[in-house]
């Protein structure tokens, strides 16, 4: 049975299993209908013209895992930011792991979506925010909404500065031959509140995984949100990340996406402005090889005056890999004095590597500053020669150059331990040991 049919036919069983009387029933039903009509996106659609899911969808994915799996902390410690204390919301094959998690209700809520969806005390927040900013027309988002049951639920009250980062990690164990999971995260950050979040998806063996995740983030007035996505999964893992961010007046939200691993990775990152003097930052580093594909599809929707957005994506592609950047900036007529900036730099390391870059600026206001720049090039030969002349061998010189190329993005990571971790992953990815932590 094709995956689409399998998902649709399992929907009723899924709904019965949770609670048919839940207020979300109508939301889910509408969502599955949208998915049923549209199905999985194909390259015929403009938004997916560079990225095909065909090969991925051929696997016989299990939609609901039969076994519960446990993993030992020592076996997965390296995927945590274990050098510092963090809140942790951890899932194994889509199921919550209380053993690995460290949640809280003490002054803020860092817990489970399933609890939030089912317990009356969260009803108001769920009614106000759940599925409010996620695009109801988008087929994969709808698919996720239809099956939304588990994920991270984070609610930071007004003026709360969360003193430690929150890690959200989804492990897949490979107990199933092929597994599809659909995490759903909801993050509400109150007025003047400040939070740092790290999200990661990690397979623990080579069985194929398809993750279709939806995250909604609401940053209220003057809230500050720093969101980091680490995508360094095994070559058998596929990720479709749909992130929707709604920002109120004077809020500042940054999303850094580090894409090094995985087979097919698609990042749909959407920012919606709902107030003035908002600041949005979207940055990414992609370093890929083999037949990997990483597709960044960003949207910043400027709807109010005096807001800024900064996009900076760096991409290094080797072997037969493909990097895609499609960045859309939409400036509504009301959004005067918008300052929108977009930069996308790419390096091709092999003749067969592919970069598809497509900036899209739609501007309806007449007093704005919008700029975009895109470069595609090879490693600078004169810089290589300079380093080799100082005795640094080719491989290490290349690594240093790639690090230098990514540096602008690395520099803006605000958690020092995470910065160190990312540079370590980069050094590992580049296969070098330079005698100092890159």
């Amino acid at each position: 049975m094709e995956l689409k049919e399998k998902l649709i036919s399992s929907f009723m069983a899924f709904e019965e299993q949770i609670d048919v009387n839940s207020g979300l029933h109508d939301v889910r039903t509408a969502a599955i209908k949208n998915f049923e009509t549209k199905g999985f996106p194909t390259k015929k659609e403009e938004a997916w013209k560079y990225t095909s899911l065909n090969a991925v969808l051929k696997h016989d994915f299990t939609v609901f895992p039969k076994h519960e799996s446990a993993i030992e902390f020592k076996d997965v410690k390296k995927y945590f930011l274990h050098e510092i204390d963090t809140y942790k919301v951890i899932f194994i094959d889509g199921k919550y792991s209380s053993f690995l998690s460290q949640t809280t209700h003490d002054g803020l809520d860092v817990c489970l979506m399933s609890a939030a969806l089912n317990k009356p005390k969260y009803k108001m927040v769920i009614d106000t925010y759940f599925n409010q900013i996620a695009n109801k027309d988008e087929t994969l988002t709808s698919l996720n909404t239809a099956f939304a049951a588990e994920g991270a639920y984070i609610n930071i009250p007004k003026s709360k500065v969360v003193e430690k980062p929150i890690e959200i990690i989804y492990f897949s164990t490979g107990q199933e031959n092929a597994l599809m999971v659909q995490p759903r995260n909801l993050i509400v950050v109150g007025e003047n509140a400040h939070v740092q979040i790290i999200e990661r998806h990690q397979s623990l063996n080579e069985n194929p995984v398809l993750t279709n995740t939806v995250t909604e983030v609401f940053a209220l007035k003057r809230a500050i949100v720093d969101y980091y996505k680490i995508q360094n999964d095994l070559g058998s893992a596929n990720l479709i990340d749909n992130t929707y961010i709604a920002q109120k007046q004077e809020s500042r939200v940054s999303v850094h996406t580090f894409s090094f691993g995985g087979n097919v990775t698609r990042n749909n990152l959407n920012f919606y402005h709902q107030g003035e003097r908002i600041d949005s930052t979207l940055k990414g580093i992609t370093i890929i090889g083999d037949k990997q594909l990483v597709d960044h599809y960003t949207l910043v929707h400027h709807a109010q005056p005096n807001c800024e957005s900064h996009q900076n994506y760096k991409c290094i592609v080797n072997d037969n890999a493909t990097g895609v950047f499609n960045g859309k900036i939409y400036v509504e007529k009301e959004a005067q004095k918008t300052d929108a900036f977009q930069q996308n730099n790419n390096i091709l390391l092999s003749d067969k590597a592919v970069i598809n870059a497509k900036p899209q600026l739609e501007i309806f206001a007449d007093d704005v500053k919008c700029s975009h720049g895109c470069t595609i090039g090879q490693l600078d030969e004169s810089a290589m020669f300079y380093m080799q002349q100082r005795g640094i061998p080719k491989k290490e010189a290349k690594a240093l150059l790639m690090y230098a190329f990514s540096n602008e993005v690395i520099e803006s990571i605000k958690i020092p331990e995470l910065k160190q971790r990312i540079t370590k992953i980069i050094a590992q990815k580049l296969g070098v040991n330079l005698g100092f932590d890159l």
Binding site: F385, Q388, R390, G391, P393, A404, L434
Partner: protein
């Protein structure tokens, strides 16, 4: 020490060096002067191993060993140093980390242990003082946002750290004010000894007031057309390169 014999080189089928002969002994300072486009920078690049140039004939011997087939880093490990006219910026890699890597790669290639951290620090302190470099400078990203003078000073700092057998200074005086020129030249002079040699590539005589050459060679149209002592540099400064041209005709 460095012996260049009948060196011919081209880039994209254009002949640039047309039979260079040059013999530099330990303890000597040589200067190569010449007009723009004579092939001065090409020569220094080729000695250092830049793969953009095709060596069609001749050989480059370092202490009797032909190095003309070696990769740039292998030549560096054997003691060739080139101070670049346009040093490259490497954001995110500090001056200290870069030189540490360079030193330890050289040691590794020569079968030595990595330099102990305290020895490294001591050496960095000593050499940075020699070049009158501020401590803060050492933690800045390599060449990023450096002024022309800072870049050149940093080149000579790296030379001091790496202690090459043969140091080639390619247009090191360009973009330097007189103070920076004095500091850089002073650094080079202090590093100079019986066992190493310096090759200064320059368009102007100015640097040679500070780094006094034993020999001056004039490179024109890919060939060394005249050699002499330090007084030749002064003569060139006074009469210009056209004088040599007319002398040749």
């Amino acid at each position: 020490m460095l012996s260049i014999k009948n060196l011919h080189a081209s880039v994209e089928d254009k002949d640039i060096l047309k039979g260079i002969n040059l013999e530099i002994k330990a303890g000597e300072v040589h200067a190569i002067m010449g007009p723009n486009g004579a092939g001065k920078s090409t020569l220094s690049s080729i000695i250092a191993g830049n793969e953009n140039y095709e060596v069609s004939e001749g050989e480059i011997l370092l202490d009797g060993e032909d190095i003309s087939e070696l990769a740039p880093e292998e030549r560096a490990h054997k003691g060739v140093f080139l101070s670049f006219q346009y040093p490259v910026e490497i954001p995110g890699v500090s001056v200290t980390n870069f030189i540490k890597t360079a030193i330890n790669e050289k040691r590794k290639a020569n079968g030595e242990e990595e330099m102990p951290a305290n020895e490294m620090l001591k050496k960095i302190r000593e050499k940075s003082e020699l070049l009158e470099m501020d401590r803060k400078f050492l933690s800045r990203s390599l060449n990023e946002g450096f002024s022309g003078g800072e870049k050149k000073r940093n080149e000579i700092f790296q030379m001091a750290m790496l202690e090459p057998k043969i140091a080639i200074l390619d247009e090191t005086d360009s973009g330097l004010d007189i103070d920076a020129l004095r500091i850089v030249a002073n650094g080079v002079n202090k590093l100079k000894n019986e066992n190493n040699a310096v090759l200064v590539i320059t368009h102007y005589q100015r640097l040679l007031d500070y780094i006094i050459p034993d020999f001056v060679h004039v490179l024109m149209d890919g060939k060394i057309v005249k050699s002499g002592g330090k007084e030749l540099a002064l003569e060139l400064e006074e009469k210009g390169y056209d004088w040599i041209k007319s002398e040749l005709n």
